[in-house]
């Protein structure tokens, strides 16, 4: 039985993805924001599928100390129960914030959760992923197009705009996936980003505040159900296929921003390594692919 870790798996796209993957016979380790959310989501999943192999972990992933704590718990669990192998990690947890708000480390919250948490969690779980030649998947967004990374002010402290912060965090997700493939595809690791399209979820309602909350309440009505992007996740997790692209929408490869270059990915890796106090080792197979 292959093991998959999904973050933000207690609602929206994460919950539906967990549902499909459980049904397909994966062992799912879900990470949710609170114990209560985890329990509700677990009860929901088990009610339709009593056989589901599901274990929940609670962590506030925008805080780096929480990412490190839950990574340790996941590693211990996987070593004990899953033969030390992790088949896939889905970095899906995300938020929207109307106001500039910071984490305990003083990092802007959308940047910290939508992108940096995945960067750090992937690093911590990398040894387990490499053992199974695994996959790393990120929930991206079509909105990553038409924007550049604000290298001189990546937390957007000057002229904070909620949408810019959101878009940039999603551009960073694709750059991260590209950088991961550059470093580790020779080891059998593949990274993908999924464009969920406009989805009917509560991302813009949870503690987002102000105009973001109002706009999202109107906008989400036109969204598809979260089970639609969940199908694409299932497609990208299917071990019988190994999709060769980077960015997917509705189970098909999609074009991504011209900003997604080797140079920008390396620059983002260097910056993120500094912000997380970690270092991604280059491929164990020698030359970077």
């Amino acid at each position: 039985m292959k093991t998959i870790v999904i973050t933000g798996a207690t609602s929206g796209i994460g919950l539906e993805t967990a549902r499909i993957l459980c049904r397909q016979g994966f062992r799912v380790l879900s990470v949710g924001h609170s114990k209560k959310n985890c329990e509700l989501a677990k009860a929901d999943l088990l009610s339709g599928n009593p056989e589901a192999q599901l274990t929940c972990f609670a962590a506030d992933l925008m805080q780096q100390h929480e990412v490190l704590r839950v990574a340790n718990e996941l590693t211990a669990y996987i070593n004990e129960n899953c033969g030390g192998e992790l088949y896939a990690l889905i970095n899906n947890a995300g938020c929207a914030r109307n106001w500039y708000m910071t984490t305990d480390e003083g990092y802007e919250q959308q940047f910290a959760l939508n992108y940096l948490a995945g960067f750090l969690l992937t690093h911590e779980l990398l040894p387990l992923l490499l053992k199974s030649g695994g996959r790393v998947l990120m929930t991206g967004s079509e909105s990553h197009k038409g924007i550049k990374v604000h290298w001189n002010d990546v937390m957007l402290r000057r002229g904070y705009n909620p949408l810019t912060a959101y878009k940039q965090s999603k551009l960073c997700d694709i750059l991260f996936a590209k950088g991961l493939n550059d470093r580790h595809s020779a080891d059998g690791l593949r990274a993908y980003v999924l464009d969920p399209g406009l989805v009917h979820t509560d991302i813009g309602s949870k503690a987002a505040g102000g105009i973001v909350g109002v706009v999202w309440a109107l906008r989400k009505r036109h969204g598809v159900e979260p089970s639609v992007p969940a199908e694409t996740y299932a497609f990208l997790c299917n071990p019988e296929r190994e999709p060769q692209g980077l960015y997917y929408h509705l189970c098909e490869e999609n074009t991504y921003s011209k900003e997604v270059t080797r140079e920008n990915a390396d620059r983002l890796f260097a910056l993120s390594e500094r912000l997380c106090g970690i270092r991604y080792e280059s491929s164990s197979k020698g030359a970077i692919a």
Binding site: K36, Q63, Q64, H65, N98, W99, Y100, M101, T102, T103, D104, E105, G106, Y107, M155, R157, R158, Y160, A207, A208, G209, G210, G213, R274, L275, C276, G277
Partner: protein, 269 residues
């Protein structure tokens, strides 16, 4: 520039610490929350490549403050700026709150602030300009039923800052009182502001901009900084309308929004 910041692990403290770090200043951060201090220290060092010193300290304990001063003296650290951010707030009717919790508002917001301000003014860098910032509040401009102790404790800081500023004028020092309306620092402040509806949103100001302008104005020798045009207007009316009328209006408004906020908090669990 050596800066000491109290309450540095909280939302506004972190924002001001970040603003100082961006300007390349040396930071000495204190808070009662040891883990929180470590996190912000780590984040600032990683973002800005500066060295940050921290000291866990309960400012309501004179023993704790003495110990921290002993360490500061041992390393002969002298300061150019003090940002008094540490403070607390409990909302609700005077009699519906526990006795000691109400008293604690004054011990932290006022007594502890006096203690650290006295200690650090004695340790200002000789011959240099000095700046002190007190975090008062828009609430200090009005009598505030249901936030009575909090608002009064902030009024204390406003009046104290104004007087101290006069005393220190001849000694090359400036004192600024920051009087913000709403600042979004935590998830639950988002809810609290939403519960206040229209007036909650329009009196709220962006944290990162308030942090930047606070330092700019303090260095420019200003006495009071009320962020936001509407807040300035409100504080003006606070001065001309009879205080008992203001109290009646505030009471009416807070009763409504607190009910809403409490219901929201309950349903959110």
């Amino acid at each position: 520039m050596n800066v000491l910041i109290t309450g540095a692990a909280g939302g506004l403290g972190r924002a001001l610490a970040t603003e100082c770090a961006r300007r390349g200043w040396n930071l000495f951060l204190t808070d009662v929350n040891e883990a929180g201090l470590k996190n912000i220290q780590c984040g600032l060092e990683r973002q800005y490549g500066i060295t940050v010193t921290t000291g866990v300290c309960d400012l309501t304990s004179s023993g704790d403050v003495d110990e921290m001063m002993a360490i500061i003296d041992e390393h002969n650290i002298r300061f150019d700026m003090l940002l008094n951010i540490a403070g607390i707030d409990f909302e609700g009717g005077f009699l519906s709150r526990e006795r000691e919790k109400v008293v604690k508002i004054v011990s932290i917001n006022d007594a502890a602030t006096l203690r650290i301000t006295h200690a650090i003014l004695e340790r200002r860098r000789p011959g240099g300009h000095f700046t002190v910032v007190f975090v008062s509040s828009l609430a200090s401009m009005f009598p505030m039923p249901l936030k009575a102790t909090y608002a009064a404790s902030k009024r204390f800081l406003l009046d104290f800052a104004t007087s101290l500023r006069q005393e220190l004028k001849s000694q090359d020092a400036n004192v600024l009182a920051l009087c913000p309306g709403g600042l979004v620092t935590r998830d639950d402040t988002v809810q609290a502001i939403e519960a206040q509806g229209f007036w909650g949103s329009v009196t709220t100001n962006p944290l990162e901009i308030v942090a930047r302008k606070t330092l700019d104005r303090a260095l420019a020798g200003k006495a009071i900084y009320v962020p936001g045009g509407l807040n300035q207007t409100l504080s003006f009316f606070g001065k001309i309308i009879p205080r008992s009328w203001v109290a009646a209006v505030v009471y009416w408004r807070w009763t409504k929004s607190q009910k809403k906020w409490l219901t929201a908090a309950e349903t959110a669990g």
